[in-house]
Amino acid sequence: MSLLTVDDLVVDHRTPGRPAVRAVAGASLSVAAGEVVGLVGESGCGKSTLARAVCGLTAAAGGTIAFEDGEVTRLGLRRRDPALTKIQMVFQDPYASLNPRRRIGAQIADGLRTAGDRETTPGDMLERVGLPARMAGRYPHEFSGGQRQRIAIARALAARPSLLIGDEPISALDASAQAQVATLMRNLAVESGAGLLFISHDLSVVRLIADRIAVMYLGKIVETGPTAEIWADPRHPYTQALLRAIPEPDGLGRLPQELPGDVPDPADPPTGCRFHPRCPMAMDICAEKEPLPGPVSCWLYPPA
């Protein structure tokens, strides 16, 4: 009973004159209605590419993306399939995602029109995200970053999505606005019964709002599970390294653990398990064979 099922998705970025970069290399993920899934990983691991493919903004080179009863296909030049307008996205940078030359009310009204909603006014949507309705006549430049992201959320919600995607929606915001905007997205999505796929590199925020966490490394999902479980008992060495790197505000002055090495070039990924060159627990088999996909994709936990 999943709202969104991504199965073995492969996405390539092609640049003329260079080998194709496999940004997403066989990732599987599902989001149920009313569920908040946090997708985390270091920058450059393919999180955003996965989100763009789910939205149809980037073509998949392999695998399937099933949404509700249909399949997500590449967004063409023609009108978007009305069924797919149920997927809405909130982008990273609200300074770029809002049209600077249109009043915010008009931009929110686009979403309402898509949903065929004649009763709700843009002002109502603004109130839902905590802004006064009378601001609908203003332009984006009159707002701060946090407010603009709220407007982008209002615009996405106006189309009555059943799946809301946030692609690093808080990383361009001021620190104090981050938790507020993230919590707002969660509450609004859950209230309206929509699923939320929340992408972020900030684990502490994801922990705050996600029911389930998926950890991505170099184009693959290496571990998935309920948030509390992953936090209390991370199993994949990469998840463990990620969590150990978060400094704790305990006043003890302990420096966080560093994960040595850099993320390898996705154009030339390591053989076998993609994490093995940086893994403190690497075994011989790790360099040779890729671990099977599963809740934990690692040779330390062989499938039963």
């Binding site: 270091e42 920058s43 969660r186 002055g253």
Partner: protein, 286 residues
Amino acid sequence: MSGPVAPVLSVEDLTVSIGEHDILRGVGIDLRPGRVHGLAGESGSGKTMTGLATLGLLPHGARTTGRVLLDGRDLLDLSQRDLNKVRGREISMVFQDPATSLHPMLSIGRQLTEHMRHHLRIGKAESRARAIELLGQVRIPGPAAAFERYPHQFSGGMRQRIAIAIALACGPKVLIADEPTTALDVTVQAGVLRLIRGLCDDLGLAVLLVTHDLGVMSAVADEVSVMKDGLVVETGPRSHVLREPDHPYTRALLDALPRQGPAARPGEILDPPPAAGVDTLPREGS
């Protein structure tokens, strides 16, 4: 804690106002060599302004009172010309976003040597040798090759290391780091924090670390000051401020953090108390 070491930089009763707004209302901070002083607080509390004010980097029309003493000189009294001799030489700064603080069209080497040659009056070969040494010190792989490269050829963490190398080039006494790890991944952040701590210990640098992240604060700061509405509400050793805060605001900041352990349920923590006026009113047109 009144340490045995005299402060190298003292900010005394600093006020800053822009137009009718009072941004800082009497801030006092002492930085001592070899110590990291953390400055915490919500956005809009004046942390960044405190850092900028010590270097005279305030926006136009800002009025300041109070004193910023560096070795007995009041930096607020210096002319632009004299201040330029301090900036980058005795006090240097690392900003939040290494993607914008480095010049995209100048090579790393150029950006590392320019101010060295100006401030220290050293030659090309000598500055180059020192730059390569610095790149090694901040653990950039292949320092000699990195010297010729451009910022876009480095990852975010590497760029921040380069920004730190640039800040250290002239052997400053004070380093002001304004949210130096906020734009980085946690794994990279860990490396940069270790680097800052190590430099502070090895070079006897006095560091002012501005951050909203109390975890980062706990990891590297020796002393912590908490700011609210342009005032320092609490100052003290890290273990005291973060474990047994005296001020209710510090307590509130700590309580707003997600609990450690599995106790936190998703969605349990609702909107934190809004910072007055920060995100609820539209910005005034500037």
